[in-house]
Symmetry: C2
Subunit: 114 residues, 2 copies
DNA sequence: CGTACCTTTCGACTACCATCGAAATATCGA
DNA sequence: TCGATATTTCGATGGTAGTCGAAAGGTACG
């Protein structure tokens, strides 16, 4: 279960154009993730700036670095993202307003029906 | 469909303890929302500080003020929140990784099955 | 073992955010 | 209209985030 400070940290990490692009690029790349070099070229950002933002995402628990031979891979932490979505949708539709709620519910079973 | 700058603005609005509490309090209160006075007492925050944060949430499109007689009501914009969740989960499970994806899918139909 | 490449740290600058009291503004009841 | 209550704006202050070049730190190949 996610607490407030973790949620704030995760949201703050994503609340920045460059970090949001980085995170989405990693999500789109799949579980293997990407190296800082590839990300730097892909997003056209200086390595030092990228490193700064990757560190921010890692500190928030949204990505994790993994050594892979000579290269480093940053992988998206989808479990953390899922917990964040759960926190944001908590208590929705509880005040007798389920019929008018605009939040689409999330399935408990993960990807089972795909 | 949500674009990057809207997503960043929404995330930034939520990436602050007081604003996150305010938003969650409004979500929990249901579509009718709450007045600044009630929120100020509920969250134990000075009116001026609360107003500052409500304005931030409103500018991000996450809440909307509605005059209701002599009182003002701030209502949560659940449609905007739903769009944000959609933006954050976009492109998940697309890189041949559906079986290992930790993001629970969201139902297209809103609250139909409840 | 040394060289080359990849990645991070450091330093400095600019800009914006959070906080709150005091004062101004707005709305309604009498 | 007048007064009371509710809400916002203003001003000042302290703190934190984003940017990038230059230099340092690691890692693997030859």
């Amino acid at each position: 279960m996610m607490d407030e400070s973790t949620a704030v940290a995760s949201l703050a990490a994503l609340a920045q154009p460059m970090r949001l692009r980085v995170f989405r690029a990693l999500v789109g790349a799949g579980p293997a993730g990407l190296t800082p070099g590839v990300l730097s070229a892909l997003l056209d950002v200086p390595p030092s700036t990228l490193s700064f933002h990757l560190k921010g995402l890692a500190r928030a628990g949204l990505v994790a670095p993994v050594r892979e031979g000579r290269h480093l891979h940053y992988r998206p932490a989808l479990g953390q993202m899922d917990a964040l979505l759960g926190y944001l949708t908590d208590h929705c539709c509880e005040a007798g307003a389920a019929e008018g709620c605009a939040i689409r519910p999330r399935e408990p079973a993960c990807c089972d029906t795909r």
